[in-house]
């Protein structure tokens, strides 16, 4: 099998998507044999973009001009560019207040100095480049990353997920937190694939994987309202990870 030549980069983020890969402790020794982690500054030196890549795995959103330069270079050099994690896919937590002026946010905590004033409101990768596949999640599941790499080694991309967290929850035969226990859970609007990690431990889905395709927002808001959660509360929660949710 041809070794997979990868570029793995983090932009504005917490490095959690890259760490999820490094958290595949049992699989790393095997991965080392089939994957060339050529550009992976978080874990390998030197950080030198060189030649072409089978794929670029990019974590994080963009909020500084130098990140655009890096992203364009990664796009140009890579056959496939894959958004890893909710920040890369949707903007994520950093984009939580994209509706407000960045300058004012900066002034609230930083004296607006010369360097950081060049930044802009966090944007997902697809705002700037073509994205070939998305692995969502804050953080993504390790298994999804392993499946991605296994697919790439065989020249394929993983099938996109199109079902909500509720599907995962039903598979695990959990009681519904929202309808049966009147607790706020965003699972019905949120992309599945996490095995309903949070609801399975009695914690309502916080929407960390972003919107599921064809989410019925109005219906979900109605159910939440019947359970005592007003529209604005639900919308605010949804926007914690994806600023594109509109009321």
């Amino acid at each position: 099998m041809k070794r997979l030549r990868l570029a793995i980069a983090g932009l504005t983020a917490c490095s959690g998507c890259q760490l999820s890969l490094l958290n595949c402790e049992a699989e790393l020794p095997q991965l080392i044999e089939v994957v060339d982690f050529h550009y992976f500054p978080m874990a390998c030196s030197p950080a030198l973009l060189e030649g072409e890549y089978d794929a670029a795995l990019v974590e994080g959103c963009l909020s500084m001009p130098h990140e655009n330069v890096l992203l364009l270079s990664l796009r140009k050099r890579s056959r496939l560019l894959i958004a890893i994690g909710t920040c890369a896919a949707w903007g994520g937590v950093a984009a939580l207040k994209n509706g407000e002026s960045r300058k004012e946010l900066l002034q609230a905590i930083h004296v607006c100095d010369r360097i950081s004033s060049s930044g802009y409101s966090p944007q997902p990768l697809h705002a700037f480049v073509k994205v070939d596949a998305v692995i969502s999640g804050c953080p993504p599941e390790k298994e999804e990353l392993l499946r991605l790499l296994a697919g790439l080694l065989r020249g394929a991309l993983p099938a996109p997920i199109a079902y909500p967290v509720c599907t995962d929850c039903r598979m695990r035969e959990n009681l519904c937190l929202l309808t049966e226990q009147s607790r706020l859970c965003l699972g019905v609007l949120t992309l599945g694939g996490c095995g309903a990690r949070c609801p399975s431990m009695g914690v309502g889905c916080e929407g960390c994987r972003g919107p599921v395709p064809e989410a019925n927002l109005e219906e979900a808001l109605d159910i939440c309202q019947q359970k005592g959660y007003d529209r604005q509360t639900v919308i605010d929660r949804l926007r914690r990870f994806c600023p594109e949710w509109k009321s």
Binding site: G10, L11, T12, C14, G16, L19, S20, L22, N23, E25, A26, P29, I32, E33, D36, F37, F40, P41, M42, A43, C44, S45, P46, A47, L48, E50, G51, E52, S63, E67, L70, S73, K76, R77, G92, V93, A94, L96, L105, L106, A108, I109, H110, V111, D113, R114, I115, G119, P122, C138, P139, R197, C198, M201, G202, V203, E206, C208, D236, R240
Partner: protein, 411 residues
């Protein structure tokens, strides 16, 4: 083939930074650390959010340190809202924090730092030059993650740790399994202490650094800061004492203390303030180049502490509990806790509806910037003739001794 792209960034650290060397004629006269990562403005993002969202959002500051951020945020908001937690929750949170300590130290030692000592570029090459150590290291790291996952529900961004308690309490069997696995890796951790102590340090010995750490509680926890110079600062005055300022060369605020003193924080600083006698001869706890040894010693301590926390939990018997009910009201709280890289402070104010009206988060790497700056100057002073490339490499290596977490620092 396209041309190689010049990427001038620090590698094998979390986040984005670079070293800038200052030349005078042909000589390098100074080196500066520039943390140029984009600020996500967490303190501003948190304002306006309800108390029960604060810890979920704040833990996203950093993945490696997400458990400790979560616990610090919970402690601060619980203090502000007068929330009492059970002894069981308290012990489980401590256990999760020890899990984070194990994972973070193992990641640093066996994936990020070891390549410096063995002359290779990263963990993939370790598979050929130090396969056994890499194998041990990954096993230890995995166990740190398993602890965080068992208690927190997930190794990164642990959702099961909630204001007032836990979503689900792990059962006795799960904890027993963790204890068994921890006991099983004890020997390999001890073997790794010997291995790490045998590594050859190529950086010159640098002037001693004063140390600062959290004290007054169980390991890694406390309610005040203590320094190796004899200063004690209660949690409520810690932010003022740390004295964070905006400076031009970095996106992270810099702690300047009283304007003259410089303190390091982290594993070496913690050992400096409370050295277990059996390790006293193994390292010099004022010398930053001994920090890898400090980390492996702490890894050993964390394994032992996790075992004892589990045995205490099992002895007291695990009970199903639901999180305490919280009635929002106005208040302010400050938590101090030791993250893997040093002192972490979370401070929040809430209005009468329980909405966050102010947040202040001070992270270890931000605090360490002054100590890094001072160490870099000392390194340049003894090494200024080594040539640009060598100096740059030793500067990067020195910075790695602090195991910087730049996403935390800038947040």
């Amino acid at each position: 083939m396209s041309r190689p792209g010049k990427i001038d960034i620090l590698t094998r650290v979390e986040g984005h930074g670079r070293v800038e060397l200052v030349r005078k004629g042909k000589r390098i006269v100074d080196a500066r650390l520039n943390l140029h990562e984009s600020p996500r403005l967490f303190e501003a993002l948190l304002v306006g959010r309800r108390f029960d969202e604060v810890a979920e959002i704040a833990c996203r500051i950093c993945s490696i340190c997400s458990t400790v951020h979560k616990v610090a945020a919970l402690q601060a908001l619980e203090q502000a809202l007068n929330v009492r937690i059970s002894q069981q929750t308290n012990l489980l949170r401590q256990l999760a924090v020890q899990g984070g300590q194990i994972e973070s130290h193992a990641l640093h030692i066996f994936c990020l730092a070891l390549p410096d000592y063995l002359g290779v570029g990263g963990f993939p090459a370790l598979a050929s030059v130090a396969p056994l150590e890499l194998q041990h290291g990954l096993k230890i790291k995995a166990l740190g993650n398993l602890i965080q996952e068992t208690v927190g529900g997930r190794a990164i961004h642990p959702f099961n740790l909630l204001p007032g308690g836990l979503g689900s309490v792990p059962d006795a069997q799960q904890l027993q399994r963790l204890a068994d696995q921890l006991s099983a890796i004890r020997d390999s951790v001890t073997a790794m202490i010997t291995f790490v102590s045998s590594l050859n340090e190529t950086l010159p010995k640098l002037p001693a650094l004063s140390a600062c750490a959290v004290s007054g509680g169980p390991p890694l926890f406390g309610d005040r800061l203590a320094t190796s110079t004899g200063v004690t600062v209660p949690a409520g005055s810690a932010a003022a004492w740390l004295n964070e300022r905006n400076e031009n060369n970095t996106h992270a605020k810099v702690s300047r203390f009283d304007g003259k003193s410089v303190f390091m924080v982290g594993p070496l600083a913690r050992l400096n303030l409370s050295m277990p006698t059996e390790y006293g001869k193994l390292l010099d706890a004022t010398s930053i180049t001994d920090s890898l040894k400090a980390r492996i010693i702490e890894l050993h301590q964390a394994v032992e502490r996790a075992i004892s926390l589990i045995s205490q939990l099992l002895n007291e018997g695990l009970r199903k509990e639901t999180p305490s009910t919280i009635t929002p009201h106005a208040g302010e709280g400050t938590a101090l806790i030791e993250a893997p890289r040093g002192i972490l402070l979370h401070n929040y104010r809430f209005d009468e509806r329980g909405i966050c009206s102010a947040a202040n988060i001070i992270t270890p790497t931000a605090i360490n910037q002054a100590a890094i700056e001072m160490s870099l100057k000392s390194l340049i002073a003894v090494n200024s003739d080594a040539g640009y490339k060598n100096i740059k490499l030793s500067c990067e290596r020195l910075i790695r001794c602090f195991d910087p977490c730049i996403s935390c620092a800038v947040h």
